[in-house]
Amino acid sequence: ETMTIAAAADLKFAMDDLIHNFKSTHPNDEIKVVYGSSGNFTTQITQGAPYDVFFSADIGFPRKLAQMKMTASPVIPYAMGRIVLWSATRNASKMSLSSLTDPSITRIAIANPKHAPYGQRAEEALRSAGLWDKVEPKLVYGENIAQTAQFVQTGNAQVGIIALSLAVNPQLASQGGYWLIPDSLHSPMEQAYVITSHGAENPLAHQFVAYMNSTPARAIMTQYGFVLPSVATTK
């Protein structure tokens, strides 16, 4: 059996581990993963893309698909996304949002709030902290959260607001450090997955979805910085 998963880019590290773990019980099955932007995947799935399961960074996209009757399962939340302040050149764990007004910080990278879920939460947090107007002139926008991280990593932006799941990655964790932005400052960021109509007949897709609720899977997710929804709600 084979199946293809379309996964939001912030899942990259966790998903590799999940699949590795899953395959230990399904040694003969082949699982392909494609990482990318959730918006793109949504468009592609409406045009018949051969993805069996879609892990979105934002619950809005799978819901949209469900409305269009292009899904073969309920929309299942799998995590609450969290954002952090991160720097490659300074110790960000000692910072807070108000440090962003420091004049030595000339560039702050966030994902584009216009369409990137993490960017929207970053903007909300800055606004809630009353800092938006002060820091806006320093902002640069990445197309997605990975590019945002690159702006910071290359030193071109001193600080960035990125996903917790990225910040705990050893590659980034070894540089600087991060400061978790309180989730009270932004609306909850529900992340969810769904089996597409393409995967409806694929038993492997259903098995993988079932696996996501297993203890080992939840452990991996937690390890990569995802905050699990306490109860798997169904909509």
Binding site: V34, G36, Q44, Q47, G48, A49, P50, A146, Q171
Partner: protein, 229 residues
């Protein structure tokens, strides 16, 4: 390939396959278009000329988006393929081909058009008086005399297709072994912060392309000045 993973290697092969096919197809369809543009006296040929260059102006992923819609089940191209009983174009190698051909068309047409215009009619006239039919003359006179322009056209089309990302991502869906070309693979590496892998693959891609292009250039005949002398 000691430092390339299987996936990387696969994507590399796919890239070269795609770029090679696109270039070959463009030679077939771009050459007659360029010829027509060079020889027609229709006033609206300027419009055609500019139109051919137009796809360039859109950001590739946006162009890819429009193409995806057009090729999708509700799009005109999608309906056509459906009626003809052909497999749908999106998320297939064939779809990549169609999209890349469209996108790289101006790189083939414009250099050739210039060369054909600069060549003039005399070499064809001479060939005709030596019993060569127009087609014969094209292959035995025009082609060798405009070889540098073909070289440029091939170089630009090939390189551009290898490096194409937005269109290819949108239409192809980044499917391993089918549409995940090297440019997507490198991008994925970079996005996943796998810089070493990205560097290796990028290096290999550059190297391969360099070799392919060098091969093309190496077959360049001695420099010439005019068609006839």
């Amino acid at each position: 390939m000691m430092f390339l993973s299987d996936g990387d290697l696969q994507s590399l092969v796919l890239s070269l396959e795609l770029a090679g096919s696109v270039t070959a197809i463009l030679l077939l369809i771009g050459t007659p278009i360029a010829w027509w543009l060079a020889h027609s006296r229709a006033w609206w040929k300027v419009l055609v000329s500019v139109t051919v260059a137009m796809p360039l102006v859109l950001p590739p992923s946006v162009l890819g988006f429009y193409l995806l819609i057009a090729m999708g089940p509700q799009g005109p191209l999608g309906m056509l393929t459906h009626t003809l009983g052909i497999a749908p174009l999106p998320f297939s190698f064939a779809g990549l081909l169609v999209a890349s051909v469209l996108y790289a068309l101006p790189f083939m047409v414009q250099p050739l058009q210039n060369a054909f215009e600069a060549l003039g009619d005399r070499p064809l006239e001479v060939a005709a008086t030596l019993r060569a039919s127009p087609l014969d003359a094209f292959f035995t006179v025009v082609l060798p005399l405009t070889w540098p322009a073909f070289l440029t056209a091939i170089t630009l089309s090939f390189a551009h297709t290898v490096g194409e990302f937005g269109v290819v991502l949108m239409i192809g869906g980044n499917l391993p072994g089918i549409t995940r070309v090297a440019s997507l693979q490198i991008f994925d590496h970079v996005e996943a912060l796998e810089y070493a892998e990205a560097n290796h693959l990028a290096l290999m891609l550059l190297l391969f392309s360099f070799l392919v292009l060098l091969l093309v250039y190496a077959r360049q005949p001695a420099r010439r000045q005019d068609g006839v002398s």
